[in-house]
């Protein structure tokens, strides 16, 4: 796989990325994992709030809002 890797908050709306790595610390990582963001999970950027932060992502059938600070800690690969 030589696809491009980027932090989740940079994923353009409507595009799907696949989780490569979580950079967060232990407690935060746990929360991200609980949302189903394990390696290999497909995530679609769906919504931007009026101010551009937070953004909402389609993760395993649920629409989840993440602040850019958190989303930055999820590295995704574009396919």
């Amino acid at each position: 796989m030589n696809a491009k890797t980027m932090p989740l908050n940079c994923l353009p709306l409507g595009r799907v990325g696949v989780v490569r790595e979580l950079l967060a610390g232990a407690e935060q990582q746990r929360r991200l994992l609980d949302l189903g963001l394990v390696k290999g999970t497909a995530v679609e950027a769906v919504l931007k709030s009026p101010a551009g932060d937070p953004k909402a992502f389609q993760i395993r059938g649920a629409l989840i809002a993440l602040r850019n600070g958190e989303a930055r800690q999820v590295l995704v690969g574009l396919q």
């Binding site: 407690e27 746990r30 189903g36 009026p50 101010a51 551009g52 932060d53 395993r60 809002a65 958190e70």
Partner: protein, 696 residues
């Protein structure tokens, strides 16, 4: 959690025992599930109780309990907070986990959203590791059918090894079947729940650890997994008397172990989902997405939010006037009839004064002035809540909360405050960081609650809607402006606190935006009528009746030529004048400390008792009463501002004291809004008078 007797007012901070509290012979049933899966609706339908429901995650923070009977057996149902997992350390998850692991429920019902099964299965698999007495309740089946999501029920039962029941709790579909299955499970149905199989290394470690936890609750496999993953906080007591096993072998690290455990569960859930669920229309989100894009768009998101709120206020103000007149003439006709009864001649005149002119008249005013606006406002607000709009509000506003260094969930606790500030303060438990929780607690009072909305709406419709060009519009705008000022104050004070006495950075935040649900208009009407309108009105009436007596006495017992009431009002008159109000208004707010609902009754009683007797009530006469007592537009505006900015009611203060365990923070919560009120009202009055817009 919500606006019922259980969760507002005095009941707001009550802690339900974490451990089983069933009476002898009673079966304890735990109700678990992801947030926003309709758990509270299932709870209400089973128990016939009015636990508050709404389409937003995080309503239930404490364990609500209710009872029901089935086939002659008694069941105690415990509604646990919604959680995504049992492993993290937020308060909700701790409460749910502790009950499931150590409360030993006879049956655990996991409520899952049929439209979002994959994510829900994650929690189901975790719960199956804790207990084998599980029933899966597949809820929201109507939504699933509408979205053409097919779940193969028997296949799912087979995969999970526990019974699965399809329900649609909102209209009662499938609930008898659920009760029956719960009863069977409680009677000892043998199930073989699926256990997630982990990678060889983890399983080896578990095999090594499990003898150490033999015989401990919930079971040694679960405890070993937690230990291996370094989650020692999850273990029942730190002093288990177990020597730490040698985990250093083969480069073992708890973090890696945890990562593998979570990944295995998520992947297992994904596998089951793929085998069991068929999505016939993979564009079922399309409409939701379109609506979402509109409601959160850069250009329209905030205007739509204000527009919707404005529409709610407009309908309320326009619609409340006529019924108010009608109720007033009915109730005051009844007063004439009461007064005409013969037996008053046999009793001393002061008793007639206290009971009819004091108590009954106050009650009649309260009902005729407050009931119509509430009966329109609350159902409309509940409708918005039911649709799933509140999380979108939180999503739109989060940026500002982040700027104020506050937690994103504060937008939700703030929304809760619109219902009841005491309930809003309790809801602040969903915020983990103590700093941000305190900020949310202290600032919750800046949004008007159920008790204060009627005050705002009545002021606006009595004073700003009549005799003003575009009357209705001005009234709506004034209420809307009050709410916007309240939200702005919430943000400003949150920011101020984070820069001074509660310094720090905002912590992480995730929020689920649930799918929109078609609200059940009929149920919304009934529920908001009983849960909110009658509850708030009942509380107002319960305080207004004795208050009517006390105020009648204060108005009629004279000392050195003037009544107590006149003395009191005179005492506050200078400050009241300075703030563009009068002494009576300030005294009404002070006497309204027990509950904001009684500010209007006290105001009315004080004005009517001091000479200008009013035979008829209703909004029009209310306006005349105020005008006769020297009110101007400035008085009305400043009264609305004071309604927004003054000390929290006694119940909220008591709840803050209980939640923060600190007298200091309770005082701060008292002083900040009070000082803000004095300063803002004084400033508005000064400017208006300086510009010659209002008389001194």
């Amino acid at each position: 959690m919500g606006l019922t007797k259980q969760s507002t007012g005095i009941g707001a901070g009550r802690d339900y025992s974490i451990y089983r509290s069933g009476a002898p012979g009673e079966k304890v049933v735990a109700l678990a599930g992801n947030p926003n899966t309709g758990k509270s609706t299932v709870f209400n339908s089973l128990t016939g109780m009015n636990q508050h429901t709404g389409n937003w995650p995080g309503k239930t923070v404490t364990n609500a309990q209710g009872r029901y009977q089935f086939d002659g057996d008694k069941f105690l149902l415990v509604d646990l907070p919604g959680t995504y997992s049992l492993l993290a350390t937020s308060v909700e998850e701790e409460v749910a986990r502790d009950f499931l692991c150590f409360g030993k429920p006879d049956v655990t019902v996991v409520v899952a959203d049929a439209t979002c099964l994959e994510r829900n299965l994650n929690l189901v698999l975790q719960i199956l590791e804790v207990t084998d007495r599980v029933v899966l309740c597949l809820n929201l089946m109507d939504e699933a059918r509408r979205k053409k999501i097919r779940v193969a029920l028997d296949r799912l039962e087979e995969e999970l090894g526990v019974p699965v029941v399809e329900t649609n709790a909102r209209n009662g579909e499938g609930l008898e079947g659920l009760k029956e299955t719960i009863a069977k499970m409680a009677a000892g149905w043998v199930s073989t729940p699926r256990q997630v199989k982990y990678c060889a290394e983890v399983e080896k470690l578990v095999a090594k650890l499990s003898p150490l936890f033999a015989g401990l609750a919930p079971n040694n496999r679960w405890l070993s997994l937690r230990y291996a993953a370094g989650e020692t906080r999850v273990l029942p007591t730190p002093g288990l008397g177990i020597a730490p096993p040698d985990l250093a072998e083969k480069n073992w690290a708890p973090e890696i172990c945890r990562d593998r455990i979570v990944t295995a569960i998520v992947e297992e859930a994904e596998g089951i989902y793929r085998r069991v669920v068929k999505v016939e229309n993979d564009r079922h989100h399309a409409l939701d997405r379109k609506i979402d894009r509109l409601l959160t768009s850069r250009a329209l998101g905030v205007p739509i939010m204000l527009g919707l709120l404005g529409l709610v206020f407009w309908l309320t103000i326009k619609g409340a006037n006529y019924p108010s007149q009608l109720i007033a003439s009915l109730l005051f006709g009844l007063e004439d009839w009461l007064a005409g009864l013969g037996f008053w001649h046999l009793l001393p005149p002061w008793l007639f004064g206290i009971l009819v002119q004091g108590m009954y008249r106050t009650l009649a005013w309260v009902v005729s002035v407050m009931l119509p606006p509430m009966a329109i406002f609350f159902p409309l607000f509940t409708l918005l809540e039911d649709l799933g709009y509140l999380p979108r509000v939180a999503f739109n506003l989060d940026h500002y909360f982040k700027k104020a260094c506050a937690h994103g969930k504060q937008a939700l606790t703030m929304c809760m405050g619109f219902g009841c500030n005491a309930a809003g303060v309790v809801a602040c438990r969903i915020i983990d960081s103590p700093r941000e929780r305190l900020i949310a607690t202290i600032t919750n009072n800046f949004v008007p609650c159920n008790g204060r909305f009627p005050l705002l709406i009545v002021m606006a419709s009595a004073f700003l809607a009549v005799g003003v060009p575009l009357g209705g519009g001005a009234a709506v705008l004034s209420v809307l402006a009050t709410v916007v000022i309240g939200v702005a104050a919430t943000l400003a004070v949150s920011w101020g606190l984070s820069k001074t006495i509660l310094r720090g950075l905002p912590s992480s935040f995730t929020l689920e935006l649930p799918p929109y649900r078609r609200p059940q208009v009929g149920k919304v009407l009934v529920r908001s009528a009983f849960d909110r309108t009658l509850f708030v009105l009942g509380r107002a009436a319960a305080v207004a009746a004795p208050a009517g007596i006390v105020i009648w006495l204060m108005a009629n017992v004279t000392v050195s030529g003037a009544s107590f009431l006149a003395h009191g009002a005179g005492l506050f008159q200078p400050l009241g004048r300075l703030m563009g109000l009068d002494g009576v208004i300030l005294m009404s707010f002070l006497l309204g400390l027990p509950a904001n609902e009684i500010v209007i009754p006290v105001l009315i009683m004080s004005y009517t008792a001091s000479g200008t007797m009013q035979d008829m009530a209703g909004l029009v006469h209310f306006r005349q009463l105020l005008l006769a007592n020297g009110w101007t537009w400035l008085t009305a505006v400043n009264t609305m501002l004071l309604a927004l900015f003054h000390f929290p009611c006694a119940t909220t203060l008591w709840t803050i004291r209980k939640e923060t365990q600190s007298l200091k923070w309770t005082w701060i919560s008292f002083l900040i809004p009070t000082l803000a009120g004095i300063i803002i009202c004084t400033a508005v009055a000064a400017v208006a008078r300086l510009l010659g817009l209002a008389p001194y």
